[in-house]
């Protein structure tokens, strides 16, 4: 009976984990470039039933096992493309397809992000919302927020001066093989060990990639998880009722 309670508890606990993750997804529905997370459940090891006091009729005891609950701690990220939304802001850049922007912090550490909401500071740096600087190839900080500049889909940045285009730098997009090894750093940033410049890219100036959270899916998942939670609490309740029945063998 104790085992039923532990199984039920593991189910309650994992469902609770999943609700936490779902609520985090919903909270980030407006976070640019956010990729939804889900909990991957897996069963725990199977235990033999060949134990003291359990009546067994079969001589072959190899296939007499019962599982011991569920584990729901492993997170799975969904890297699918988020919705591209027009903002009309010339410092907003969205990546269509795969890839990441590379940003640098004050200590020279590199991070990767899909959030393309940049700003140009007084020194001409492209600043990410987290305060980190966007890496731009061959760029001499010679743009200001008032300049009329164009970011081409391959990443080339041109400054429009008196009707002529002047190449001022190139925004590279990085590809990371093994996205699941990305380490989440908060503020939409990831750390990665091996990232390479991606050859063909498709950037869109004046657009932002929204999160790929689908509210309908999250709410459905929430309902399903809530029902699973209820069902698990019911097994605990049933175990409790049965325990009471056993305790009342010599009752009254």
């Amino acid at each position: 009976m104790l085992k039923v309670m532990w199984n039920g508890r593991s189910g309650l606990y994992s469902s609770q984990n999943r609700i936490d993750v779902i609520s985090n997804n919903i909270a980030n529905i407006d976070t640019n470039g956010y990729k939804r997370l889900d909990v991957a459940f897996s069963d725990i090891f199977n235990e033999s039933l060949d134990r003291l006091g359990t009546p067994i009729t079969n001589n072959d005891k190899s296939n007499l096992t019962v599982g011991s609950g569920v584990r729901g701690e492993e997170l799975i990220r969904n890297f699918s493309q988020g919705l591209i939304k027009e903002t009309g802001n010339k410092t907003d850049v969205a990546i269509v397809g795969e890839g990441y922007f590379k940003v640098k912090d004050g200590d020279g550490n590199y991070f990767y992000t899909r959030d393309g909401a940049f700003n140009i500071d007084a020194n001409g740096n492209f600043v990410h919302s987290s305060g980190l600087f966007l890496e731009i190839e061959n760029y001499n900080n010679n743009l200001s927020i008032n300049d009329n500049f164009i970011i081409k889909s391959n990443g080339d940045v041109y400054n429009l001066v008196d009707g002529s285009e002047e190449l001022v730098g190139k925004i590279n997009v990085y590809e990371i093989i093994g996205q699941d090894s990305l380490k989440q750093k908060g503020e939409n940033l990831f750390a990665a060990d091996n990232a390479n410049i991606k050859e063909s890219t498709n950037l869109k100036q004046g657009y932002l990639e929204k999160s790929n959270v689908d509210i309908a899916k999250e709410l459905t998942d929430m309902l399903v998880t809530q029902r699973a939670f209820e069902l698990n609490s019911r097994t605990v309740k049933t175990a409790d009722d049965m325990w009471q029945i056993a305790n009342n063998i010599r009752g009254k």
Partner: protein, 254 residues
């Protein structure tokens, strides 16, 4: 009378084990690719009761009274491998088997394990891995087995079963003639003593196979387990009362 109490107890214990199993199925109701398990019960072999009451002269003859059953025991646990529902997730690395077979993976010692859980990841070396780190095995065009290595950021499953973004590998889907010999391992994996056969099955990208645990079945089974537990308890109680009568009241002079 004592025999009867043990028979009732065997009923209670087996119901308890059935509830253990059921609670495990319930806790895994959201586990991708989970296959429900069932505990099957069987009564112990019947015994024949005889006595030698019948006496003719100085000889006694055996007389068959009938049979007696000594309660119930657990006969086995069986996995129900029926197909689970497919849920669309649009995640590129989610794969679901629609039909027969198992994804084949390799643990750190190189031994094969089988699973229906197709939620994969790509590790930093580019290996396609199961959520717990086991490498997924594929087949190349010559039919050789290879762990699947991914060359690009993402992979696409082609209609002919090859996976682009890898060296034109296919998933190695293994099927077994006798699925009952599969032993459950931790984390949704199965071990097999015998080698299975590769099979071409319909695999869907962007889908997850849900567990095949059915809520309605769970609820009804839970109720019937509890009620029959209660019945066994009542049987035990009345046997105990009868026993109490024989012990305490027989021989009393009123």
């Amino acid at each position: 009378m004592l025999r009867g109490i043990y028979t009732a107890a065997s009923g209670m214990i087996t119901k308890q084990v059935q509830l253990e199993n059921l609670s495990n199925n319930v806790s895994n109701i959201n586990t991708a690719g989970y296959k429900k398990q069932k505990v099957s019960l069987k009564s112990f072999e019947e015994l024949v009761l005889m006595n030698k009451d019948k006496q003719v002269g100085d000889k006694s003859f055996p007389r068959r009274i009938g049979t007696i059953e000594l309660g119930v025991g657990i006969d086995g646990t069986r996995t129900n491998f029926s197909q689970g529902d497919l849920e669309k997730t649009d995640r590129i690395l989610d794969f679901a088997i629609n039909g027969d077979g198992f994804f084949t993976v390799e643990d750190e010692n190189g031994s094969k394990k089988y699973t229906r859980d197709g939620r994969f990841k790509i590790d930093s070396e580019g290996n396609l891995i199961a959520t717990n780190g086991y490498k997924v095995i594929g087949l190349d065009e010559n039919g050789y087995e290879k762990t699947i290595k991914v060359n690009s950021e993402n992979i696409t499953l082609n209609p002919d079963g090859t996976i682009s973004g890898t060296d034109n590998l296919k998933f190695l889907i293994t099927t077994f003639e006798d699925k009952n010999q599969l032993l459950r391992d931790a984390n949704d994996f199965y071990n097999s003593k015998a080698d299975g056969n590769p099979v071409a099955t319909d695999i869907k990208q962007g889908f997850v196979e849900k567990s095949n645990v059915d809520t309605i079945e769970v609820i009804t089974e839970m109720m019937s387990i509890m009620r029959s537990y209660e019945s066994s308890q009542k049987v035990m109680q009345s046997l105990d009362e009868t026993l109490s009568k024989t012990v305490n009241e027989v021989g009393n002079v009123r």
